[in-house]
């Protein structure tokens, strides 16, 4: 039910033994889950793993056939808690979310399931949202794996490998009674490739083949004294078994090379970049044959000391290519070698930067520095240096020629977004009551912190804006406004925010952006949507939930009414009424709306029905080119164009053809008393005869009065010629 339709992808989930799957990495994972015989799948949407959740939601029919239970979970915590099914029973299951933020939310359940241990294979698919394209704080999942003793896989990013590793994860999980995390970086989730499929495996136990007797085993309850034995079991039994399994199944790989006095240890996910960099330096070919030995860690936790030692013995130096910080793997390599008294020099952070994504450029530089420092026998260092300089030369040259950085292009609210007007209203309210602190939240509305609004003082997590206002509000001279989306509200905002505020009698203002979907992640449905992900109808509303908790000051307003919204905000900020005041800003996600109505309108027009199209415009001879309208909106369709006036140079505001006619421009012009340049145009398509006659009559009468009628007609003729 999301932003994209997955019809084609669902067909490829049905592929059988020996067929070829073509598609995206994260969908290959989805297919791999079905091939592994999962009983249940859950997840919470978020780039880069949204498609797994979306395609599962759309594939209901296939899942029913197989007997696989799918839940579009209410949060990552709900998803992680599903793994409880595998504690007592041999049920295979998988859950997914965006990490590390999702892992943060899920960590309570994760730590518990990791302590209890599992009988059935439990796999967590993580989209490691790190580097370019990420939308969250830059951290790594690795620490979670270590602290809870969950095994962490980071496979080489090609589809056959990813699929194989998903299948092996279940085996590893079952062999060690431990949940397994499989992390995929953003680009790996979206990589297009192919693999040979296997037939889908219906789960052993499912709705179709149910379990008769529940299992009780106090040893699996996370309460003393079980917890003490569980910790021991982790270290004494599960860890050795995991190491044994990884070695036996050869999950990590060694690629030998002729310059064997050095070597590279790399996380599987970064292998392709390392091979490309070596290829650029003439040290590898395009098919993986390398002159520099490489140890690929497709399993990054636990570290297999034996393998590390065997790889390093006899080498003068190795480079650890490990993205982000702290450098857990590098430390572990040091420890392994030190304990075995192997004197190989270990480099990592140094030639490579401590923080930031390891792009090809970073890895090229890191490997060049490593080689120059290690001086391996036989490597043409002069060539490496020259190549490195050559590859980076055009960047320097471009900077010189361009003479200055090109303007950035940050993301922002879409054309006609219903959330934009709320911030326009806040700007105007601020002008009247003074500046106020805004506790922002996760979701599209966080674009308010970018130009042109630059509003929102803190972000503490999904659904946590209201909770995050609790500490600061009492110390501020004006009330604090918390902004939250309906996605955030249902994810965590209702319990951590609203309930908390009610219980503590917080004097606060909450603005809930009700656009009907979890829009930032791809328009997934929510508990307050009309239907759930599977299309079953729902009846929950945000207002009912709030009233149920005892919130009495609730205003539900159409977002596009800027003046009314401004008044409501002012009212909420200044009323003498104490307690929580909630404004529900209601307006359907414009992307979803357009997707819904465009085909309908097209059909109506094709059928000859009368349709009135609305869009906005600006009279370019009335506009004086100050652009305050843009500073109060930022709509992509409200842009600028060269001034057609021969006496003026500043560009004028201009509404382009992407305009969906939401009306915000005009509302802002009115609410802020900006200027009279805006107009709304209603274009009558498939006009009735009455429309045309009226139009002709009006044009005739108006024409009598227009002084420039003849000249305008002439110039129109001239254009026509």
């Amino acid at each position: 039910m999301g932003e994209r339709s997955f019809k084609k992808e669902i067909a490829s989930l049905r592929l059988g033994e020996g067929d070829t799957f073509h598609g995206e990495g994260i969908l290959a994972v989805t297919k791999a889950l079905l091939q592994s015989g999962v009983s249940y799948v859950g997840g919470y949407q978020g780039a880069p793993v949204s498609h797994l959740v979306d395609v599962m939601a759309d594939a209901n029919e296939l899942l029913e056939e197989l007997g696989v239970h799918f839940e579009a979970s209410a949060s990552e915590a709900s998803a992680a808690a599903m793994l409880g099914a595998s504690i007592n029973y041999p049920l295979r299951g998988a859950v997914t979310w965006k990490s590390t933020v999702g892992t943060n939310v899920a960590s309570d359940a994760l730590a518990n399931v990791a302590s209890a241990g599992v009988k059935g294979g439990a796999v967590i698919i993580l989209g490691e949202d790190y580097g370019e394209g990420a939308s969250i704080m830059q951290e790594r999942t690795h620490a979670f794996a270590m602290k809870s003793q969950i095994w962490l896989l980071d496979p080489r990013p090609n589809l056959p490998m990813i699929v194989d590793m998903v299948e092996k994860s279940f085996e590893l999980s079952e062999a060690t009674n431990t949940p397994v995390m499989l992390e995929l970086r953003i680009r790996a989730c979206h990589v297009h490739g192919s693999f040979k499929t296997k037939a889908n495996r219906p789960p052993v136990f499912s709705r179709k083949h149910t379990i008769e007797n529940p299992d009780f085993d106090y040893g699996r309850i996370v309460l003393p004294p079980s917890t003490y034995s569980q910790e021991k079991h982790k270290i004494e039994v599960r860890l050795p078994r995991a190491i044994e399994f990884v070695k036996r199944a050869k999950l990590n790989e060694v690629f030998a090379g002729k310059y064997d006095d050095i070597g590279i240890i790399v996380q599987g996910g970064l292998y392709n970049s390392v091979i490309r960099a070596l290829g650029d330096y003439g040290l590898a070919d395009g098919f993986g044959a390398t002159d520099v030995p490489i140890y690929v860690m497709n399993v990054t936790y636990p570290i297999i000391d034996d393998e590390i030692i065997r790889f390093c013995v006899g080498k003068r130096a190795v480079l650890v290519v490990e993205e982000s910080q702290p450098e857990f793997i590098e430390h572990a390599v040091h420890v392994a070698l030190r304990r075995a008294d192997v004197q190989t020099k270990v480099l990592g952070k140094g030639p490579l930067p401590m923080a930031g994504e390891y792009t090809l450029e970073v890895i090229l530089t890191g490997i060049a520095r490593f080689l120059e420092g290690a001086v391996p026998r036989g490597v043409d260092l002069a060539f490496v240096g020259r190549t490195h300089q050559g590859l980076l030369a055009s960047k320097k040259k471009a900077a010189e020629l361009l003479g200055g950085p090109v303007p950035p292009r940050p993301p922002g609210f879409c054309v006609g977004c219903p959330e934009r007007p709320v911030f326009s209203a806040m700007k105007l309210a601020e002008r009247e009551v003074g500046q106020f602190h805004i506790a922002a939240d996760i979701g599209c509305h966080l674009f308010s912190t970018l130009p042109p609004f630059n509003m929102g003082n803190t972000v503490l997590g999904y659904g946590l804006s209201l909770a995050s206002s609790a500490g600061v509000a009492p110390s501020m001279s004006r009330r604090v406004i918390s902004v939250m989306g309906d996605g955030g509200f249902w994810h965590n905002g209702l319990s951590s925010g609203v309930t908390n505020a009610i219980y503590n009698k917080d004097d606060s203002v909450l603005v809930i952006m009700q656009n009907g979907y979890s829009s930032a992640t791809g328009a997934q449905h929510l508990p307050s949507s009309t239907t759930n992900a599977k299309g079953e109808s729902l009846s929950g509303t945000i207002e009912a939930a709030l009233r149920g908790l005892g919130v009495s000051w609730i205003r539900t307003l159409r977002t596009y009414g800027v003046a009314k919204m401004k008044d409501a905000l002012k009212d909420a900020l200044t009323t003498t009424e104490r307690g929580l005041k909630v404004i529900i800003a209601d307006g359907e996600c414009q992307l979803a709306r357009q997707r819904r109505i465009r085909p309908l309108i097209r059909k109506q027009i094709a059928a000859g029905d009368r349709v009135v199209r609305t869009r906005f415009g600006i009279d370019d001879d009335v506009c004086t080119g100050d652009h305050s309208c843009i500073r109060l909106s930022g709509c992509p369709s409200l842009t600028i164009k060269a001034n057609p006036d021969p006496l003026k140079t500043d560009p004028v505001a201009h509404v382009n053809n992407e305009c969906v006619g939401c009306g915000l421009c005009g509302e802002v012009a009115h609410a802020a008393v900006l200027c009279p340049s805006f107009f709304r145009a209603e274009i009558v398509q498939n006009a009735w005869l009455a429309d045309r006659l009226l139009d002709r009559l009006r044009a005739r009468v108006i024409g009598w009065f227009q002084v420039d009628r003849t000249t305008a007609a002439q110039s129109a003729d001239a254009t026509a010629v």
């Binding site: 394209g133 050559g390 303007p407 993301p411 100050d626 227009q706």
Partner: protein, 512 residues
């Protein structure tokens, strides 16, 4: 064999169809039998930000690889891109800035149209990035640069930019794939086939033609035709003004005849003449100052009061322009609703000072000045709506005795006096003072802000006796730039303090 893959990097804006284009390129590679891989970083940038898609393919067909599988990179490497595709001009600049275009390898295929970034759009004056810098850099940095306006090409072929780009990639010959395979990919994708093929064909032929890129220029200006009644004034211009000033002066005359009457246009010319005389006397050539004064004075004298707005909004040319702008077909009636919100300021502006000033004083005292703005939605295409506006436009006669005209004239005189006083001793400073007229624009609070800033600069800099004369030009320039830097007046206050005056912040915090 150590074969380098062909690398294709596509830079696009979120929501523009870059993903579809990348999918097409991948499909074309696969259909041609080559091993191919693509990847992307959608995420937040999907919402209108700059984003990229990356594709690699080998030139050897899978069948000829003997079962070996290539290892493709997932991230583009600097200096390693064979085909750099950008859906917009600034993004081509960004690609070069990031090191993805180099002279040995890269075919740069990009649209020359602009989608302005938010910082360019929100500027209080003109912060457009000069696209010609991108074109000039590309000419030096790319092995081959193919630029054309793909937005226009897409519009002309009833298609989208991504289809035109796909055609341009095919037409560039940079990929080892034949045209028929590219077209088959479009057909197989199954949506908007006809339109996409048309867009593809346009892109293909433009890339094959590979015409030289003309420097970007602003589109044509709308010059007014000269009214017959202004004949004598136009004769004066022809006689006294050099060829590079005359068209501007003529435009000013035509505009003010239309705005008010010939007498008002004559006043304009008389005022302009005083500056021309002084500049000519000083031996300056060309008459750069006269030219700028001609421009600004005409715009300023035709200030936008409600009468002017009503006049502009009721013109036949305006109706025609709206039709074209909203893409209305000839048989589609359109209705125009104008958004007006006049208040006390706007109404008193066209009244004589003797009536207007007491009202303003009363409203000011009771803090009611912003309270009586009425939201009007006027259907200018209906007969009643039109006549309302038309009658308003006919109130020109009131303007000659209006409060607003008196105030504007006084400010203009102050400005002209400063210019005239400065020309003989400092031509550059006179030019800078002239440019300050740029601050007087807009409506309502925007107008008030501009006027306040203008007066602050005049009080603190232009009329300052403390400022050493040699620093005048630089100081005015600095203050003017500061006035246009932010709507709150913070930068201006700082600049004025720097210039050496203690200035109290005057304008309250602006909404934006």
């Amino acid at each position: 064999m150590n074969e380098r893959p062909v690398t294709v990097l596509i830079a696009a804006l979120g929501g523009e169809g870059g993903g579809v284009l990348a999918d097409w390129v991948i499909a074309a590679g696969a259909a041609a039998g080559y091993p191919v891989q693509g990847t992307s970083i959608p995420g937040v940038a999907q919402r209108t930000g700059a984003t990229t898609y990356y594709v690699e393919m080998l030139r050897t067909r899978i069948a000829d690889l003997g079962g070996r599988t290539p290892i493709f990179a997932l991230t583009p490497g600097p200096g390693s891109i064979d085909v750099m595709v950008a859906s917009e001009l600034l993004e081509a600049g960004r690609a070069m800035q990031n090191g993805f275009v180099n002279p040995e390898r890269t075919t740069l295929i990009a649209s020359s149209h602009r989608v302005y970034s938010i910082l360019e759009r929100t500027s209080m004056a003109d912060s457009r990035y000069d696209g010609n810098r991108v074109l000039a850099t590309a000419a030096k940095l790319a092995k081959r640069a193919l630029f054309f306006d793909m937005e226009a090409a897409a519009k002309a072929s009833g298609s989208v930019v991504s289809a035109v780009l796909f055609g341009a990639i095919a037409g560039s010959g940079a990929l080892p794939i034949g045209r028929e395979i590219f077209e088959k990919v479009i057909c197989d994708s199954g949506f908007e086939i006809k339109a996409n093929l048309a867009g593809f064909a346009t892109g293909y032929s433009q890339a094959v033609a590979a015409l030289a890129v003309p420097a970007l220029a602003d589109p044509d200006k709308r010059w007014r035709s000269m009214p017959a009644r202004a004949g004598p004034l136009l004769d004066r211009v022809a006689k006294d003004f050099p060829a590079d000033v005359a068209p501007i002066a003529n435009e000013g005359i035509a505009r003010l005849c239309e705005y008010q009457d010939v007498a008002y246009a004559r006043l304009y010319l008389d005022r302009l003449d005083t500056v021309r005389a002084l500049e000519t006397e000083g031996g300056h050539k060309p008459l750069a100052l006269t030219r700028e004064v001609a421009r600004h004075l005409a715009v300023w004298m035709a200030f936008e009061d409600v009468i002017r707005v009503a006049d502009l909004k009721t013109r036949a040319a305006r109706f025609a322009r709206v039709r074209a702008e909203v893409n209305a077909k000839p048989d589609e009636p359109i209705r125009i609703v104008d958004y007006l919100k006049p208040g006390i300021d706007e109404v008193t502006a066209i009244m004589p000072p003797a009536i207007a000033e007491p009202i303003l004083r009363w409203a000011e005292k009771r803090k009611l000045i912003d309270r009586f703005n009425v939201s009007l939605y006027i259907r200018t295409t209906s007969i009643t709506g039109f006549l309302l506006m038309w009658i308003l436009a006919r109130l020109k006669g009131l303007r000659r005795r209006s409060l607003r005209l008196r105030d504007e004239m006084a400010m203009q005189e102050r400005w002209l006096d400063a210019i005239r006083a400065t020309v003989p001793r400092d031509h550059a400073a006179a030019l800078e003072i002239t440019e300050c007229a740029r601050l007087i624009k807009g409506y309502g609070s925007t107008y008030k802000r501009g006027r306040t800033n203008f007066l602050r600069i005049f009080d603190a800099v232009v009329a300052s006796s403390a400022l050493p004369p040699a620093r005048l030009a630089a100081a005015v320039k600095q203050a003017r730039a500061a006035a246009l830097a932010d709507p709150d007046g913070k930068t201006l206050a700082k600049a004025l303090a720097e210039i050496g005056n203690n200035v109290q912040p005057v304008h309250k915090r602006a909404a934006e």
